[in-house]
């Protein structure tokens, strides 16, 4: 050994630096060294997102869809269409199929065609339907996120009996046959909501769907978060924060939570379309809203019967739903990539 390792590193003189005190005395001796502007990770993420064509397309599409939903009444008024107005003039007297282009009813007056039997305008119904679908999906996602993240962090950080108890509780929730419960409890619960809180039938149903979706949706996220927290809290940078004297709150919010945003955002971007689809499924199964109110699921449910003769009635709402879901998924992917600090810089 003998040969002790050579010392290739020329030691720098220290000058009169006083490290013994806690007070900072000296100032940085940056002798004319120009400061390179540091960008925060958020700024870097934004720059990356702006460069990402897929992400920007998704943002535009999602924004448009949100705007369409918000301004649906204005758009419909401008175009002179209504989602609920029955107009049997648009459909044939025999079989009730829409008149016009290949039994779709597409015309200048009704750009996406009309519904068979009733002759209601499809565009108007699609736009109004998106209001309800997005309302349910967005609020469901937010509630699920909050509950899932909070429970996941508590379970992962506490470990011990609390983690076990929460874990078993999640297992129980996950073991419920969600769809059956949704169907079975739909009538009694929505009626209870209507009576107890003097709610409109549709509001009660929307609230019911949001609650049930988030009630059964959070355990999945909680588990992901719990797993991440378990692994993060053992990471050395968390331990080094503990060694510096950081308390639990700081560890949770400054060390662990920022490193959870990527999985949370990705899960949210997957959850939102799932909820949109779930709402469609529920309406399809008849648990959704009261008939004259349009919803994507109800439209799809109706259209299945006319698939052979009027395929446009199925494909137009289907495509719209597909675009919304795809847009959110792609945006989620892009956000995750942009937030990864290890990815290449722009």
């Amino acid at each position: 050994m003998v040969a002790s390792v050579q010392l290739p590193f020329e030691e720098r003189s220290l000058g009169s630096m006083s490290l013994a005190s806690d007070h900072v005395v000296s100032t940085p001796s940056s002798g004319g060294e120009s400061e390179i502007a540091g960008r925060s990770l958020t700024q870097i993420a934004w720059a990356r997102l702006r460069r990402d064509k897929v992400a920007m397309t998704s943002v535009v599409v999602i924004t448009l869809i949100l705007l369409f939903a918000i301004f649906a009444p204005v758009i419909c008024k401008l175009l002179g269409i209504s989602p609920t107005e029955i107009n049997t003039d648009n459909v044939s007297d025999f079989g009730g199929l829409p008149n016009g282009f290949k039994h779709s009813g597409i015309s200048w007056q009704h750009p996406l065609g009309v519904e068979p039997q009733t002759g209601r305008d499809l565009l108007a119904r699609l736009l109004y339907g998106s209001r309800i679908s997005l309302l349910i999906a967005l609020s469901g996602t937010i509630i699920t996120m909050v509950v899932g993240v909070v429970v996941g962090i508590i379970a992962g950080y506490s470990r011990g009996w609390l983690d076990t108890a929460l874990g078993r509780f999640m297992d129980i929730v996950l073991a419920f046959p969600v769809l059956l419960i949704l169907l079975a409890l739909s009538n009694p619960l929505t009626q209870r909501l209507e009576v107890s809180f003097h709610m409109q039938p549709n509001s009660a149903r929307i609230l019911y769907i949001i609650l049930v979706l988030s009630l059964f949706g959070w355990p999945y996220l909680a588990r992901i978060v719990r797993g991440q927290v378990l692994s993060l809290r053992e990471r050395e940078f968390v331990e080094s924060a503990v060694a510096m004297g950081a308390g639990t709150r700081r560890i949770l919010f400054k060390e662990i939570l920022p490193n959870l945003w990527a999985p949370i955002l990705v899960y949210a971007s997957l959850l939102l379309p799932t909820f949109i689809a779930a709402e469609a499924t529920l309406s399809f199964l008849g648990v959704g809203l009261v008939p004259p109110t349009p919803s994507w699921g109800a439209m799809l449910a109706d259209s299945v019967r006319y698939f052979r003769v009027d395929p446009a009635f199925l494909f137009i709402p289907g495509t719209y739903l597909f675009i919304v879901v795809l847009g959110f998924n792609l945006l989620g992917d892009a956000i995750r990539d942009a937030l990864d600090p290890r990815a290449g810089r722009v």
């Binding site: 010392l7 490290l19 540091g38 940078f237 080094s240 510096m244």
Partner: protein
């Protein structure tokens, strides 16, 4: 007038990790005795080297001393004051006395924080200084460890391993501690960088009067930096001596075996040296062997014809020379064996 207490002392420190079985009703099924009765003394301004193979409990010992783990039994005395009881937060000012440098400088830096934020973090946590003062302090620290001020806005992944470890050192120094537990601070770096970091640590020790508990599996490195070296095996210290003494007169068969693994640069001597290859695996710390913990792999025991006392009696750490303690029933037999002679050849002189 009584002698001033040493800066850091561990007395009969035990860290056991319970093994639990069962899902709902967790019951204890024994414990992993990671650290099982370790005593050590670190004097001010010196370096205590701790060596041992992986799994011997040296990292656990280091982390327990900075109170990342709670000791099961025993005392940790800083200036004579016991810090073993209570949680880390309740032990007043502990982070300002004791800091840790971690093995993997990448893992120990938050990937979402800039270097400046990383180094300022201990100051923010301890609520020291204004934002401006902290910034100045960060610049001072970065300069101290040989980083440029413009690295402040970089992220850990943009730096090389050596630079990252410098950041790790800078943030360990931020609170001006007097004791630093360095857990394998250079083992993830390549040799030339290792030398830089070791030199940096030595310079800091000289200039700031730091005391190190230096944990490593690299015997040559520990020798270079330490004033006292302890060899750990399965949660215990089996031999402790100043490096010159330890490398010239190893008295524990395990130390002899470890030293035989250090290569010697002189090829003629190296060819003559004997390598003692330990048979078998490191026994489980959950179920350590009876008597002397090393008896299952001991070459001396085989040589002496398997004396009974090795399996029946746990050897105590007893002084055989000044500052040289050994836990072996037959330590005196080691001295002068061809194995000891062969292994230390080329290691003794410097």
């Amino acid at each position: 007038m009584p002698e001033a207490p040493p800066l850091l002392e561990a007395r009969d420190l035990e860290v056991h990790f319970p093994i639990t079985r069962g899902v709902l009703l967790q019951r204890n099924a024994g414990a992993v005795r990671a650290v099982d009765g370790v005593s050590l003394v670190l004097e001010r301004g010196t370096t205590f080297g701790l060596v041992g193979e992986s799994g011997c409990g040296k990292t656990t010992l280091g982390r327990t001393i900075v109170r990342l783990y709670k000791p099961t039994a025993g005392a940790i005395l800083v200036d004579g004051q016991d810090i073993a009881a209570g949680t880390r937060e309740t032990v007043q000012g502990l982070p300002r006395r004791l800091q840790m440098i971690f093995q993997d400088p990448y893992a120990s830096l938050d990937p979402r924080m800039t270097i400046g934020a990383c180094v300022a973090e201990p100051l923010r946590i301890q609520r020291l200084g204004s934002a401006h003062e902290r910034q100045a302090r960060v610049a001072e620290l970065l300069d101290l460890v040989g980083l440029r001020t413009r690295d402040t806005s970089s992220y850990p992944h943009e730096l090389s391993g050596g630079m990252r470890q410098r950041v790790g050192i800078a943030r360990a120094l931020a609170l001006s501690p007097d004791i630093i537990v360095a857990d394998e601070p250079v083992s993830s770096l390549d040799v030339s960088i290792q030398a830089q970091i070791v030199n940096l640590l030595r310079r800091l020790q000289r200039d700031l009067g730091l005391s190190y508990l230096f944990i490593s599996h690299d015997l040559s490195l520990v020798r270079r930096i330490s004033d006292q070296v302890a060899v750990m095996y399965l949660g215990r210290i089996v031999e402790s001596a100043p490096p010159r003494e330890l490398y010239r007169h190893p008295l524990h068969p395990y130390t002899v075996a470890l030293l035989s693994a250090i290569p010697v640069p002189n090829p003629i001597i190296e060819a003559q040296r004997q390598r003692i290859i330990l048979t078998g695996e490191l026994p489980s710390a959950a179920n350590p062997p009876s008597g002397c913990r090393f008896h299952t792999r001991c070459w001396l025991r085989t040589k002496l014809g398997n004396p009974e006392v090795c399996t029946s009696e746990d050897p105590a750490l007893s002084p055989l020379a000044p500052a040289h303690t050994v836990a072996c029933h037959f330590a005196s037999e080691v001295d002068g064996t061809p194995e000891q002679e062969s292994v230390t050849r080329g290691l003794g002189g410097r």
